[in-house]
Each structure stands twice: as structure tokens, then as C-alpha cells.
């Protein structure tokens, strides 16, 4: 009875209980809801951001005889149940042709793509003429107008490049510019960017010609049909993921079964895997973080209830006194206190929903629909039950005390060293949880609870140690006459409430510190990983045929390498073998992301091309070698089973050379006339070389005439090699000529020896063998990514021309390899340049990596590159990757951490305020009773401020420490990225600035609060307080 009056009389307390319960309800509801929303957002944003890999690109294969497929036929491959989540299919027909202008036939025929796409005309700005309306009419790009000097009405003869016959004449009826050169409409088949004349450093081609679909009627063009569509972000939802993956994986098999000749190119299955991995991040991190806050709030609720119930002790005593049984009294009080808690928790559910709406609009950018996952009401129910259990427990604990105990006016002040049973239980539980977390296999939720558990255990233990310590401090302060400190310390040691404050503050500080560390470490790791994955701040990519002219252009644009560093990538034919990343070490160290961390000083030294040996350059149209042989003997070769193979007598050897042309970097074979056996005198051998533009003598070697495979051994003594400009080309020392390793075991061998200008000692069974001038080492030193299975002496990587270079691994790799972090060998670009060779254009990428300044001037750089004939695209930016990672599930989830930190502090302040509110009267009365005897207000003021500031400041320090330890333990368990890149290590070291700022800030805030509150209590301890009864 009298419930309403009771609530109204103590409305402030009811409000506090409601407030704390609100927080519990909000956390319980927000956690699963936010997690679900993040999952949906990740899916939406992944699909939106990677719309091209997510697309289904259905295309019929190459030339088909007799079968004519229509684009509509391909649509059958999309299962009906998935049709609603995909865009309507975009049909197209195309083929690649080589064309020529009949009037100038005979010139090389460039290539181009002739295409029709449904609705293409609306995507084009027609600058001249019109869109095609009849068969064999095409519209060409305005760029091609300039490049190839097209005009309206120009006729082209076009032949499909795959079969070489058929085709027809096409006439140009208009010129276009695409409205969006790289828009989604094109599904990756961009109409422009292909136009180059043959004179360019890139092979010549034209931009796409668009035509009317009627052109492809009939089978003259051996066309391919396409149908493209993509999942609609925001319509395709989490529930569709499995189905999407399954459909993508089975579509090609289905095509065969249904008899539709088509292939799907899509990375949707991989994307789905990526999304699923990210979902796991969200569902791991978010609920755990919210659970910690919710649990903390439950603890604070328990403390608040303890204080509130304690205040009602006289009333409970009265109720018992008047004969109500303990159970009856308990029921009434549970009702009185349970009502605000219940209302608060339910309101918290609504608050959680409101918070979700806000977060959905801001962080998540509406990426998630408004839906109610079943976990939300379940969590709310659990929260309600938990909160009410706490109410019952706290009420029960007090109501069941004996009446005489309840009648005591004041809380019994504990002077003993005994730890209460409750505190002991909590400490044991927390330590047990910690041990489980630390020794477990690192999975499961416990590790993430480490900071809270650690804070709790350490806080409580410290608090209980504080009590006797304060007693000692007070005694020594009394002796020294420091009254304020003595009184403050005395009160600490006598009021057990300080244990609550210390524990609560320690937990809050631990949570906040952990939150700060998680957030900042995650951000740092995202930035580092983005840096390594991009390579530098930005990456420009272009095509080139000539290494030399590429480097020349780069030197013109940025000779001092303030802005960029060139990187050339050469890819092997087989995807499992090493690819080559050729860098310019000096500028790489300065420009690439943490480039100097790639290796140490010794490593850089070893990596660099020899600087002490200049290439052997000459300018000539011929080379004359004065050669003699000695010690010629036939060699018996042994078959695999040991049998001798009898050959006969060797007839001759041929001196060969490799020269590298300065003009275009290609490497030529020079063969001198054969040296016939027997030969006793030195002979002068002359060979023609195309070196009027300058060449480097790279290799000297031995070969045999085709019909002379008999083994021969001996020495070929070169006394002189002369060119037009050098009567004697200084061949240097014999050590400077290194054997070029041979792949395949033939029992041949070749070495350089001193003697004459150079002596070659050989054992030849027929294959060509070379020694190479050490200006380009024959075994190239390389830094190799560690996961690659390295075989000494047998591991090779392609040079710019694709030929294999044998590598010597430098075991000094101290950091991940930028941008190409797996099966990559890093070599010096200069070494490869000296080796010469024609660039394998399809397998080689030319990149310019930009630093911040370079990125800021990227337009200047691309402009200058265009002037030089290079078409460079900015393909990657570090900031874009950082932003993308910032939208990953773990990043979104970790955005919670500041919220967590603030919530934790709010709760700690609530505990502080609660303790002050429940104890201030008795403290004020005590101070008043001292003041009235003449103890100065300054002394009591100091005591009032010390009493809470001291323990609180220490608790913040302790909690911060626990948070750091907790972060150290728990962070390795939190998935910061969807995929663990083995190459880029995670840096989980403590971020000291963040820790310090949070510690200092927290201490400042709480200390201000306690100082303020302490002064308030002192101010309120007026003399007439001693006349008050404590109620």
C-alpha cells in the first residue's frame, strides 16, 4: 500500500534507478541491433563499392558455328528467385575487329571493338552527327577523330580479329564522348582509353565503335552476346547471401546443362565470402563491448539499490516491527523499487532504438533497413530479468537482517580487516574469468572481457588494501600534525563505501583505456596496412614498350625524385611462381610507404646494382675479336646410366656475345665466325653489330655449330675485342665475368680465367654457355617475400623481357614488401635495365608511386606523361583504402568504443554521486561536530577533499593500468581486418599518447568532481547540523 506516495516522496532516487536501468536496457537492445545493422551496412557498401566484381558478366564464348545466341537467352541463367535483387539485365553484342581505311590499306590495321549495348545512345554525348540507326553505321569517339583523322562519312573495312574473315564495311555517322567514361553502365567494358596510334609507345588501337544491333544480324561478325547485371545494394540483404554465392558458383555448370553457351565472369562468390567474414567481426566485437557496459551498469544498479535500500532501513525495520513477515516486507519493497527499474529498462529499449536510428543515419549512412532481429527483444528480456533479480537480491539482503540490526541508526563502520563475503566472491569470480581468458585458446568472448574483469578484481583488491593503508597514513599524519590529511585518511579507513567507488572507477578507467587503445591501435593498423597495400600515397599505372625511354621520361618529369619512384612489375606465366618488383632503391626508400623499413643498410647495399663496374659501352657497326684456343680436348659425355657416349672429334667452337642496345634496350646475340679445330694461331673474328647508336657488351659465351655436338673442353683466349670507337674494349678482370647459371643439367660448364684480355675455360656439349660482365650480376640479389618456398640456386623470377633471372636471396627483409606482398622478389631496376631485352608488354606493368607531394601534383605528372605519349591512370590511393577500411565491420564496430568510454565514465560518476548523496549528511555532521570545537574549516575542507580524491585518483591510475594490460591481452583476439594479411604484421603495441591523455583527462574530471563535492560537503557542514537526526 501507499506505493505511489512512497515513489513520490523519494522521486529523486526513483529517477536515478530509472536512469541506470535505462542505460542497461539501451545497451542490451542497442548491441544486437547495431551489430545487425552493421552487417547489413557492410553488405550494402561492399556491393555498392565493388559493383563491378559483384556483377554477373555473362558472355557467350568465341566464334560459334551455327549457333546463334541472343542476349535474351543468357538471362535464363539467373535463377528466378534472385531476379528481384538484381538489376534488370543489360544486353549487348560485340566483337573485336581489326580495321583499316580502304584508301590507305597496307598500313598496319589497328584493333577496335564494335559494340552494341541496350540504351547506349543515352549514355553518350553526341558531339557531331548522330547515333547509328541502321546496320553497319557506327559512331566513333572524338578522341579517335583526332588520333586517326576520322571524318563524318569515313568508311572503314573491318574484319573480326579472331577468325580473320567476314566482317564488312562500317561508315562513321557521328562522334561521341561518353557521359561517364568509367560509369557503372559499361560494366567494366569502358568505351574510351584504348585509342593510341601505332607510333605511340603503346600498341595502336581505337576506342569503341558503337553500332546498331541490326549490324550483327546474320553471322558475318562472329559476334559475342553479353548480358550484364549486378545485385542491387540495399535490396539484396543478408538473407540472400548464401543464395547469391551458390548461384554464382553453379551458373557456369548450369549453362552447360541448360545448353546455353555462355560463361559468367563474376567475383560475387569471393565478395560474399568477404562479407561473411566481415559479418563475423561485427557479431564478435559489438555484442561483447555492449555486454561489458551493460554488466557494469548492472553492477552500478546493484550499488545504487544497495544505497537506496539502505536508506529505507528504518522503514523496513518498522514494517518488521509491526509484524509484517520478512517475505511480505520484501515483496512490498521489491514492488516499490522494481517498478522504476522495470520502467527504466523498458524505456531503455526505446532509447536504444532511438540511438540506433541516429547511428543508422550518421555512421551507417542508411546502409541498413529498419528491421527487428529476434535477438533484440530477447536481449531486452534478459536485461529486464537481470535487473529485477538484482532488485530482489539487494532487497532480500537487507530485509533479512535482524530487526535490531535494522534499527541501528548508522551504518556500522567497519574497522576490521575482514573483506566482505560479497567482495570476496566478486574477486574470485573476476580472477577466475581472467585466468580462463588468458589460458584459453583465445577464442570466445572471455578475452574481450579482460579489461573489465581485471579492473574489477584489481580495484576491489586495491580498495581493501587501501583501508589499512589509510589507517597507517592517518596515524603518521596525526603525529606530524597534518590534521586535514589525517582526518581524510581516517575516514577512508572507516567507511567501506570507498571500496565501491574505487572498484567502480577502476572498472570505468579500464574500460575507457581499453576502448581508447582498441580504437587508436585499430586506426593505426588500418593506416599502416593501407599504406603497405597501396605501396605509397598514390599509384599511377601505364603501359610502355621500352624500359629505357620510360626511365628517361620519368627523369624528365622528376629528376630529383621529389614526387615519385618508378616501380616495374614483371609477372611470370605461372601464377604460383615469383613475380618481380623492380624498384629504384634510393627513391623507393624516400617515397614508398615506410620504404626505408624494407631492409637494413646492408640489405640496401647488397640489393643495388654494382656501381663500381661501369658497363662496357661502345659505338660500332662491327666487333672484332682476336681469339686463340688452347688445350682443346674432346670430352666424353656420360649418359644417365653412366654409359659413355662416343661422339667423335669436335670440329669447332663459336665465340658468341650478347650486347644491349642503347636505343631501345633490346639484347642482341652476336655470333662470331667459328674457330675451327685444330687452331694454333690467334685468329681475328669479325661480326656485324647494329650498335651505331651505342651498345653495352653484356656477355661473352661459347656455342657450337649445329652438327657438332661432340664434347670439347679447353680454353678460348681472347686477346682483344675491338670496335669502331674502341680499338681495345677493356674487358676488366676475370672475376668480373660471372658464369650465367644454366637451367637444366647438362654437364657443360664455363668460367672466366685470367689470361690475355680474358680467357674462357669451357666444357661444351653443344648448348650455348655464357659468362656475364658483373655490371649486371648473373645471380641477381633479391629480397624475397618470406612465405615463398625458396630453393637455392633454382628459384628464378622474370626480367622485363620475361626471361628467368636466377636469384640470390638477401636474408635481410625487415618489413613487408609494398603492394605485392606475396611471392614477389624485389630487385634493383637498374640491374634489370642493364640486362636489356624487349619488354613483354602483356606481362609487365609500369607504375609510378607517388608520395604526398606527388599525389598533390598528380595532374601535372599525368599531363607531362601524356605529352610524352604515356596514358597514365591513378589506380590506387592510400586514402581511399583507409576510407574503405574505415567502413569495414570492425572499424564501424570500434566506433562504439568512445561511446563505451563515455558510458563507463558516466557510470563511475553515478557511483561517486550515489556515495556522496548517501553519505554526505553524516559526513557533514561529523565535520560540523569538529568545527564547533574550533577545528578550522580549512582542515575539515582538506579532509573532505582528500577523502575521495585520493582513492579516486589512485583508482584511475590502477584502472588505466588494467586497461592497458587488458588491451595487450584482448586485442590480438579482436579481428581488426576481415582477412588476415600474413605479410603486413599487426602492430598491437600500446599507444602511449592515447593512454596518457585518457588517464590525465579521467583523473582531471574525477578529481574536479571529488574536490567540488568535498568542498560542498564542507560548506554544508554548518554548526546546526549537529542537531540533526540522521534519517
Amino acid at each position: 500500500m501507499f506505493l505511489r506516495r512512497a515513489l513520490r516522496y523519494r522521486w529523486a532516487q526513483a529517477l536515478v534507478l530509472t536512469g541506470i536501468s535505462l542505460l542497461i536496457g539501451a545497451c542490451a537492445v542497442f548491441g544486437p541491433w547495431f551489430a545487425r545493422a552493421v552487417e547489413q551496412t557492410v553488405m550494402t557498401e561492399t556491393l555498392a563499392g565493388q559493383s563491378l566484381p559483384a556483377s554477373w558478366l555473362l558472355a557467350s564464348p568465341g566464334p560459334q558455328v551455327g549457333v546463334s545466341t541472343r542476349p535474351e537467352d543468357l538471362d535464363k541463367l539467373l535463377p528466378n528467385d534472385l531476379k528481384p535483387v538484381f538489376t534488370p539485365p543489360l544486353h549487348g553484342i560485340y566483337n573485336d575487329v581489326s580495321w583499316s581505311i580502304p584508301a590507305t590499306a597496307g598500313d598496319p590495321s589497328p584493333g577496335a571493338r564494335v559494340r552494341w549495348r541496350d540504351g547506349y545512345c543515352a549514355q553518350l554525348d553526341v558531339t557531331e552527327g548522330r547515333c547509328p540507326q541502321a546496320a553497319n553505321e557506327v559512331i566513333a569517339s572524338t578522341v579517335d577523330k583526332t588520333t586517326w583523322e576520322f571524318r563524318l562519312g569515313t568508311t572503314l573495312a573491318a574484319t573480326p580479329s579472331d577468325v580473320g574473315k567476314g566482317g564488312g564495311r562500317l561508315s562513321i555517322v557521328g562522334f561521341y564522348q561518353p557521359k561517364q567514361a568509367r560509369g557503372d553502365f559499361w560494366y567494366g567494358d569502358y568505351p574510351t582509353g584504348h585509342s593510341h596510334t601505332p607510333a605511340d609507345k603503346d600498341p595502336g588501337a581505337a576506342n569503341e565503335f558503337f553500332t546498331d544491333s541490326s549490324t550483327f544480324a546474320g553471322n558475318k561478325w562472329t559476334q559475342r552476346v553479353t548480358s550484364d547485371f549486378r545485385p542491387i545494394p540495399g535490396v539484396a540483404r543478408l538473407g540472400d547471401l548464401d543464395r547469391l554465392k551458390e548461384a554464382t558458383e553453379t551458373v557456369n555448370g548450369n549453362a552447360r546443362e541448360i545448353g546455353v553457351a555462355a560463361q559468367n565472369t563474376s567475383s560475387l562468390a569471393t565478395l560474399v565470402d568477404q562479407i561473411q567474414a566481415e559479418r563475423k567481426q561485427a557479431t564478435t566485437i559489438i555484442p561483447l563491448v555492449m555486454v561489458q557496459v551493460a554488466l557494469f551498469a548492472v553492477v552500478v544498479l546493484a550499488l545504487a539499490l544497495a544505497a537506496v535500500v539502505d536508506q529505507r532501513r528504518p522503514e523496513i525495520a518498522l514494517s518488521r516491527l509491526r509484524g509484517s513477515s520478512a517475505r511480505r516486507t520484501q515483496r512490498a519493497l521489491c514492488l516499490e523499487l522494481g517498478l522504476p527499474v522495470l520502467i527504466g529498462t523498458l524505456l531503455g529499449g526505446i532509447a536504444g532504438f532511438a540511438l540506433l536510428l541516429i547511428v543508422r543515419a550518421t555512421w551507417l549512412r542508411y546502409g541498413a533497413p529498419i528491421e527487428l532481429p529476434w535477438t533484440v527483444p530477447a536481449a531486452l528480456a534478459v536485461a529486464v530479468v537481470l535487473a529485477l533479480i538484482v532488485v530482489v537480491l539487494q532487497v532480500r539482503g537487507t530485509v533479512r537482517q535482524s530487526i535490531s540490526n535494522l534499527l541501528r541508526r548508522v551504518l556500522p563502520l567497519r574497522r576490521g580487516r575482514t573483506i566482505g563475503v560479497a567482495d570476496l566472491c566478486i574477486i574470485v569470480f573476476a580472477v577466475a574469468g581472467l585466468i580462463a581468458a588468458l589460458t584459453g585458446d583465445g577464442r570466445g568472448p572471455l578475452p574481450v572481457l579482460t579489461p573489465a574483469l581485471l579492473g574489477l578484481a584489481a580495484g576491489l583488491i586495491f580498495a581493501h588494501l587501501l583501508l589499512p593503508a589509510a589507517g597507517l597514513i592517518s596515524r603518521s599524519a596525526l603525529r606530524k600534525g597534518r590534521l586535514g590529511l589525517a582526518l581524510g585518511a581516517l575516514q577512508i579507513s572507516r567507511r567501506p563505501a570507498v571500496t565501491r567507488i574505487v572498484a567502480a572507477v577502476a572498472v570505468a578507467a579500464a574500460l575507457l583505456t581499453f576502448a581508447g587503445q582498441a580504437s587508436s591501435i585499430a586506426a593505426t593498423n588500418r593506416e599502416t596496412r593501407s599504406g603497405y597495400e597501396t605501396g605509397a600515397e598514390g599509384v599511377l599505372r601505364m603501359n610502355s614498350l621500352y624500359l629505357g625511354s620510360f626511365l628517361q621520361t620519368v627523369n624528365q618529369i622528376d629528376p630529383d625524385r621529389h614526387w615519385l619512384t618508378p616501380v616495374v612489375i614483371s609477372r611470370p606465366p605461372s601464377p604460383d611462381t615469383l613475380q618481380t618488383e623492380m624498384i629504384e632503391p634510393d627513391s623507393f626508400r624516400r617515397v614508398a610507404f615506410q620504404g626505408d623499413k624494407l631492409t637494413d643498410a646492408q640489405g640496401w647495399q647488397t640489393l643495388q646494382a654494382p656501381s663500381d663496374l661501369a658497363p662496357l659501352s661502345f659505338r660500332s657497326s662491327q666487333l672484332t675479336a682476336t681469339v686463340s684456343v688452347d688445350g682443346i680436348k674432346p670430352l666424353i659425355s656420360r649418359a644417365a646410366n653412366g654409359d659413355q657416349i662416343d661422339g667423335g672429334t669436335p670440329k669447332s667452337v663459336i665465340l658468341r656475345a650478347n650486347v644491349v642496345s642503347h636505343r631501345d634496350g633490346s639484347r642482341y646475340l652476336v655470333s662470331f665466325p667459328p674457330i675451327r679445330f685444330p687452331s694454333t694461331k690467334p685468329v681475328a673474328l669479325q661480326a656485324d653489330v647494329d650498335c651505331l647508336g651505342g651498345c653495352d657488351l653484356l656477355r661473352l659465351g661459347i656455342g657450337r655449330e649445329p652438327l657438332d655436338p661432340t664434347g670439347v673442353q679447353g680454353n678460348v683466349v681472347i686477346s682483344n675485342i675491338s670496335s669502331d670507337d674502341h680499338p681495345t674494349i677493356a674487358l676488366g678482370k676475370a672475376e668480373s665475368w660471372q658464369t650465367v647459371p644454366q637451367l637444366g643439367s647438362d654437364q657443360s660448364s664455363i668460367t672466366a680465367k685470367p689470361g690475355g684480355a680474358l680467357t674462357i675455360a669451357m666444357k661444351s656439349f653443344g648448348t650455348d654457355m655464357y659468362v656475364q660482365y658483373a655490371t649486371a650480376p648473373s645471380v641477381v640479389p633479391a629480397l624475397v617475400t618470406p612465405e615463398y618456398h625458396w630453393v637455392d640456386g633454382a628459384t628464378t623470377t622474370p626480367a622485363a623481357d620475361g626471361s628467368p633471372m636466377t636469384l640470390a636471396r638477401i636474408d635481410r627483409l625487415t618489413g613487408p614488401v609494398n603492394r605485392y606482398s606475396e611471392h614477389t622478389a624485389v630487385v634493383d631496376l637498374e640491374t634489370v635495365r642493364r640486362l636489356g631485352g624487349v619488354v613483354d608488354e602483356g606481362a609487365t606493368d609500369f607504375e609510378l608511386w607517388l608520395n604526398k607531394d606527388g599525389l598533390a601534383n598528380v595532374d601535372t605528372i599525368t599531363g607531362k606523361l601524356a605529352q610524352a605519349g604515356y596514358n597514365a591512370d591513378l589506380v590506387d590511393r592510400r586514402d581511399d583504402r583507409i576510407a574503405a577500411y574505415g567502413r569495414s565491420a570492425s572499424a564501424l564496430a570500434l566506433q562504439l568504443t568512445p561511446v563505451v568510454g563515455i558510458a563507463a565514465w558516466v557510470l563511475a560518476l553515478v557511483v561517486l554521486l550515489l556515495t556522496v548523496v548517501t553519505s554526505w549528511r553524516s559526513r557533514a555532521q561529523d565535520y560540523a561536530s569538529l568545527k564547533i570545537t574550533g577545528v578550522p574549516a580549512s582542515a575539515t575542507g582538506r579532509a573532505a577533499r582528500w577523502e575521495q580524491t585520493g582513492p579516486v585518483a589512485l583508482a584511475v591510475l590502477l584502472g588505466t593500468f588494467c586497461g592497458l594490460v587488458g588491451a595487450h591481452v584482448a586485442l590480438p583476439m579482436i579481428p581488426l581486418f576481415a582477412t588476415s594479411s600474413g605479410a603486413v604484421p599487426l602492430d598491437l603495441g600500446i599507444s602511449w599518447p592515447v593512454a596518457l591523455i585518457l588517464w590525465a583527462g579521467g583523473t582531471a574530471i574525477l578529481a574536479t568532481a571529488t574536490l567540488f563535492l568535498g568542498s560542498g560537503v564542507n560548506r554544508r557542514s554548518t554548526y546546526n547540523r549537529i542537531r540533526e537526526e540522521l534519517t
Binding site: V410, L478, P936, Y1023
Partner: protein, 215 residues
């Protein structure tokens, strides 16, 4: 010497003490009796400086009393009604802290405290927390606290109301002892026996003082 001249004490609208004047020379004990709410406590608090006077002044041995800290430093001891002890402290600490605040040397403080506690019969209970003492023991501890301060003026407000006759005698003896030491003592009481033992007996009724037996 306590010099109260035309002192009026008001709490808002209510006049607790109305135009009271008297003098208590050192060595004398004045008892002030009267019903509850007559203004005895307010009068004593005004003399102690714990409550401001609206009119008139209190002067003690040359110092005009304006605030409590100055009065306490000057030796005006107040033993409040309802004991006025600090609950978080032990009996001994309640006695020692005010003395230490005056920066008296600690061994002297110890001696004084032991004497005072022995005087009220609490020598064994010195280290008990105040709330562990019974009501009468608390009152005696308050008296001991006042005695220990060895003031020149002792104002005892209903300091025997919880005590049985033995202890009451004890306390009165101590107060008289203080008077003999040279302090001026004022006791507020509604116990007629206590009033009889004093040197002078005044009555307060609704703020006005009248004399039953002049000093």
C-alpha cells in the same frame, strides 16, 4: 568573564533570544533553565559564536564574539546538546583532534585526554567508535571533550539529560572543578537538581531571561 549585553537572536521571523543581558565572572557557575524551545540553546550558541546575534553583543575577556573559530581560539568551549560528536571517530579521537588543531604538543594532548576520560569514567572506552557507545556514554564523552579543551568559558547545553544520578553527579563535579580552575561556566538544563547546585539560576521563557537566584 562573560559579558552578555542586550543580545537578541533571530531565526528569520522567530525570535529565540530577546534582549538578554547578564554577566558571569570567572569561577562562577550559572544555570539557565526553562522549557524546551525557550531559547537556552540559542543563548549558549550565541555566546559561543556559533550563531550570529541580531542585536547586542557578547564580550568575553576583552574579545567581542563574532564567529565560532575566533571564539574557540579564545577559549570558549561549547558542549552541545545531543552530544555533537563525530560518529566516524573514536571517543579518544573526538577529544584529540580539536586539541591537535590548536597545535598543542602531542604528549601533552595525551595526558589531557586521559585525564578527561578518566574524569567522566570512560577510561576503558576510549577506543570505541562513538556509535558503539550508549547514549549516556556518548554524552559523557562530549563532556570530556569539552573539559579537555580547558577553556576559559564552558557552555554546557543539557549535558546531563541522558545520565543517571551517579554520572550526573560526576559531570557536575567536573563542571564545578572547571569553575574552580577559573572558567566561567553556564549550564543549560531543565533538571532542577542541576540548577540547584549552581551559583546562580536564571530562567528563560520564550526568549526572555529572568532571575531566580542572582549570582
Amino acid at each position: 568573564m562573560i559579558n552578555v549585553s542586550q543580545v537578541t537572536v533571530r531565526y528569520g521571523e522567530l525570535t529565540a533570544v530577546s534582549d538578554v543581558s547578564f554577566t558571569v565572572p570567572p569561577g562562577f557557575v550559572l544555570a539557565v533553565s526553562g522549557p524546551s524551545g525557550a531559547g537556552k540553546s540559542s543563548l549558549l550558541w550565541a555566546i559561543a559564536g556559533a550563531v550570529p546575534v541580531a542585536k547586542g553583543q557578547v564580550e568575553i575577556d576583552g574579545l567581542v564574539i563574532t564567529d565560532r573559530p575566533a571564539a574557540a581560539a579564545h577559549g570558549v568551549v561549547l558542549i552541545p546538546q545531543g552530544n555533537g560528536l563525530a560518529r566516524v571517530l573514536t571517543a579518544r579521537e573526538n577529544l584529540s583532534l580539536p586539541l591537535l588543531a590548536e597545535r598543542k604538543p602531542s604528549d601533552e594532548v595525551e595526558r589531557t585526554i586521559e585525564q578527561a576520560l578518566a574524569g567522566v569514567g570512560l577510561e576503558e572506552s576510549g577506543d570505541h567508535l562513538v556509535e558503539e557507545l550508549s547514549g549516556g556514554e556518548q554524552q559523557r564523552a562530549a563532556v570530556a571533550r569539552g573539559i579537555a579543551q580547558q577553556g576559559r568559558v564552558i557552555l554546557a547545553d543539557e549535558s546531563t539529560s541522558e545520565l543517571d544520578s551517579t554520572n550526573r553527579e560526576r559531570v557536575l563535579d567536573l563542571l564545578h572543578e572547571e569553575a574552580r580552575r577559573g572558567a566561567a561556566v553556564v549550564i543549560a538544563t531543565h533538571d532542577p537538581n542541576v540548577a540547584d547546585s549552581a551559583d546562580g539560576h536564571a530562567v528563560m521563557d520564550e526568549g526572555h531571561l529572568s532571575w531566580l537566584r542572582r549570582l
